[in-house]
Symmetry: C2
Subunit: 174 residues, 2 copies
DNA sequence: CCTGGAAATGTTATATTATAACATTCCGCC
DNA sequence: GGCGGAATGTTATAATATAACATTTCCAGG
């Protein structure tokens, strides 16, 4: 093993909360790169604004509200207004690059863009971070239940609020 | 079997969407009666206002927004204002008599008050009705998943949007 | 009964979230 | 270069939710 190899990092895809000290730039870079590829493949335009909003949302693993995004944009884009943000996130959500967390009125980067999946979010009420999981057991169960009910599900969402492992053991939430 | 027995009605508890022609007064009466009992047992006060708001929410199986409730209240309670409604629904939600549907900013009567359960709601985007189901498979799956993630869930919610059986077969949504 | 104090409701004002409507700019395409 | 649709800018307003303080209601205890 070379001592200069890149440090290990658990992938950010679907494995729950990441360690506090993880190299978050890799999360951001991977997300932006993935988004570029997906949008190119779909012939939709990941414009500068949309890319920047995606980057802001990926700024951390804490969901970001529309007006928080707006505030961040204002410094660099004087004309930014609510529709600026809402239109960008509408695009990002439609492309499956971002999830809207209904119970928070906030947005978080999707950990599985381009893969069909049910959004399953664990939201820590201590540190505020949200982790997306993609457990096929849950998707299967949902499919069975809706089928049993004769319900044709178009989209569904699972949101759980509680304490992540770190915050349970009394770690500093920040 | 006596010919004068009450007509059969599928219980409203956890069985999905009810038939169009079901005797909805029985849903309402059962819900209000159950609420009285629960509140008495818990020594909390189901005041006139709270009872009335619960009755309004149970007015149909379509989720009701806070300002729709307010509009209905205004005719009978001149001083009604947003806090009137929000405080009443806060109580009803805290007592588990009503669920808030985050994706709609609306409220619907709980089909399983007093029973510990995960809110699982199927929302028809054609007729607007919401059906609560209580499938133990889903609760179990959620428990396993959160446990695997080391997450201590405090509450969680499942919301699915799609088409109920009636609306799939082209029935008049109303 | 009366009454102290907490809970509930009334009342006014405002914060937060989201969208409508129309103008302008951008950008690929011819 | 200029046509046309998509994206963004701009202004205004709608829809949802809460803060803060005043008043009323309701009991439990005297
Ligand atoms: Zn990260
Ligand atoms: Zn996702
Ligand atoms: Zn009914
Ligand atoms: Zn319920």
């Amino acid at each position: 093993m070379s001592p200069t190899r890149a440090p290990k990092q658990t992938t950010h895809r679907g494995t729950g909360f990441l360690a506090r000290g993880h190299d978050h730039r890799r999360c951001v870079d991977a997300a932006l790169s993935r988004a570029e590829d997906l949008c190119a493949a779909r012939s939709v335009r990941l414009t500068g604004l949309r890319r920047r909003v995606l980057e802001l949302i990926w700024g951390s693993h804490k969901p970001l509200g529309a007006y928080q995004i707006l505030e961040a944009l204002r410094g660099e884009r004087p004309g930014a207004a609510p529709p600026t943000v809402y239109r960008a996130v509408e695009f990002l959500v439609a492309q499956g690059l971002v999830h809207r967390i209904e119970s928070l009125n906030a947005f978080v980067g999707c950990a599985h863009p381009g893969e069909s999946h049910v959004s399953q979010l664990l939201i820590c009420r201590a540190c505020g971070e949200a982790a997306e999981i993609a457990d096929p057991r849950l998707a299967d169960t949902m499919d069975r239940i809706t089928a049993d009910a004769g319900f044709l599900a178009h989209r569904h969402a699972v949101e759980a609020v509680g304490l992540c492992r770190r915050c349970q053991i009394g770690a500093d939430p920040e």
